[in-house]
Symmetry: none
Subunit: 194 residues, 4 copies
């Protein structure tokens, strides 16, 4: 007997998930260009053809991985409760950002590379901007609360620091004194380092 539409939907969702779960670490570790569709398919345990049932092309897979991650990471940012002080939330935010970079270095690397490329597909640019503005929306009130004059600029500025530290970490690896950098960063915002 044929599968019910529900079954089909769930099967489809499952294989889609398998593909994205396979693609993320591959993109992350080896970069977008050096990850082949064949590798993704093999790693996901599906056929190459199936990937093209779910996605139009390789860039599309990247975008989906992107969005997937966005959802997850937006949850990451939801962690702080409404009742926490701005001070505590900034502290948490710094820790989370750094932790994310440390835990997903290759993904961050990819993000930066994409941000630097002039010719990335339109849609990707939009997605990257979306991430940025997302973060902005989240952080602006925080710096407002903390009494900064130009909270928007302040967010960009702390973002630059995050990016710079990420860059250092990515290029120097174990040699990078991440701890020191983070403490230095916190001290600039009068956050007690533990």
């Amino acid at each position: 007997m044929p599968r019910t539409p529900e079954q089909n939907k769930s099967i489809k969702a499952q294989s889609r998930k398998a593909i994205l779960d396979a693609a993320f670490p591959l993109f992350s570790k080896h970069g977008f260009d050096k990850t082949s569709m064949a590798t993704i398919a093999k790693e996901a345990g599906v056929s190459k053809g199936l990937i093209y049932h779910h996605f139009d092309n390789k860039v599309d897979v990247l975008i989906a991985v992107f969005d997937n991650l966005m959802e997850q990471s937006s949850e990451v940012w939801d962690v702080f409760g409404e009742d926490e002080s701005a001070h505590d939330r900034l502290l948490k935010m710094i820790d989370i950002s750094i932790l994310f970079t440390k835990g997903n270095p290759e993904w961050v690397r990819l993000l930066i590379q994409l941000a630097l490329q002039e010719d990335v597909v339109e849609s990707l640019h939009d997605h990257i901007s979306a991430i940025r503005s997302n973060k902005l929306q989240l952080m602006i009130p925080l710096f407002e609360e903390l009494g900064y004059d130009d909270p928007e600029a302040e967010v960009l500025y702390i973002g630059a620091k995050f990016d710079g530290i990420a860059l250092g970490l990515l290029s120097m690896k174990e040699d990078y004194p991440l701890e020191k950098m983070v403490n230095r960063l916190k001290s600039e915002y009068n956050l007690k380092t533990q």
Copy 2:
């Protein structure tokens, strides 16, 4: 009668220059991997074969581009006189760094991209390290003089800020509030903003 060695040298230098001039913006705009030898050749108005007459392989072209630019930019740092105060030198250094990034975005972009590439080449890593340590040697005494506890870390930290700002500028272009960022940066080091 054959061309004189001088003629040959000048002809060769000319085509070599054409190749490097074509390769640089391509590498920086699209990245090393996405730039093909065919594209470089076409852009330079020479044949693919000629590139291999000048360079052993693609990586070699990159290295040559690199060295070429290093030469051009190395003088930038030779600017400050011995008698200037640490305060003034830091101010100058910040201004020069920012100005350089603004004036040579492609070059900075390429530098960052290369710093992010894991595999490109050993030889390049040496070149990049050379730049870094060069800068370090220059800046450490400065922060020592300014009384910082851990001048080496401080150099890395301000370097991260530079990098982060550069990254922002490169991805947001005209939308980036560079002025604000620089002022913010200077204020953190108690430098009067003009």
Copy 3:
């Protein structure tokens, strides 16, 4: 619905066969180096890409051609019964060898060419050695039985004669007095020529 695994296997086997069937005469007529993958593909009526779907690289194709032919020709040597006299077996062996060369000149040509190639591959050398030692194991007892002092050297020596005759036949073709050569060979081992 997808093809069944059986269908796929048969389709794959078919195209694999087409490739090997195209590669064999090309390799033997023009040699390994002068046979390009493009030529093989065209001759086989498939795309270049497909060859790489079946084989990792050009050498791999050669090895497959090799193994393919080995299988076909290995039975040739299984012919003589245990009860035949050494004299008769030697006679048979000579006839079979010559007949094989005559019937499979391309294959013999390829074999000789490969034996002459220094570098082609390690793996192939193993294959070629396997053939040689196979033949040795078969012939040494024969010459032992015939009372030769140094049967191993004798095998090498008659092998050289086979090779030399094959070489003559391959380069002179119909002009080569094969009959005469064989009779001359047999007379040296006191075998009556019919």
Copy 4:
């Protein structure tokens, strides 16, 4: 003042010689295909262009090397005086042949490879045939004198033995019991082995 025609001629002959002297060991060691014109030029200490002043193309160089060698080796065959016995001349001829193979293995390899290729240039085939018939003319009277029924076939036959031994030597290198093979060969012609 301009060079005299004689000077020009001698200079030309000199550079021609340099090219051939460079080309022979290269062809010999690495084979025809794997020897590039650039390598020959560098080794000869001349420009690539000059080679094309002397020869139409790469095959032409090979042919010239060939002819050059022929001349030299024809002298080799002139060594035996008129007054030597057929027995001594055969002995000498065997020794010389083997010695030549031993001393110029790569050249012999090249010769065999060329003989096996179907598509070598016409002119080369002629040259190879010339070598063969040369040898034939030299050896036929010898075997006539020794009382063989069919001296022409006999020459082909001993030639096959030479070729076979050469093949063995080329593929087994130091492992080949050349001494034994030669002694075996000589014994077949009732030549005392020293």
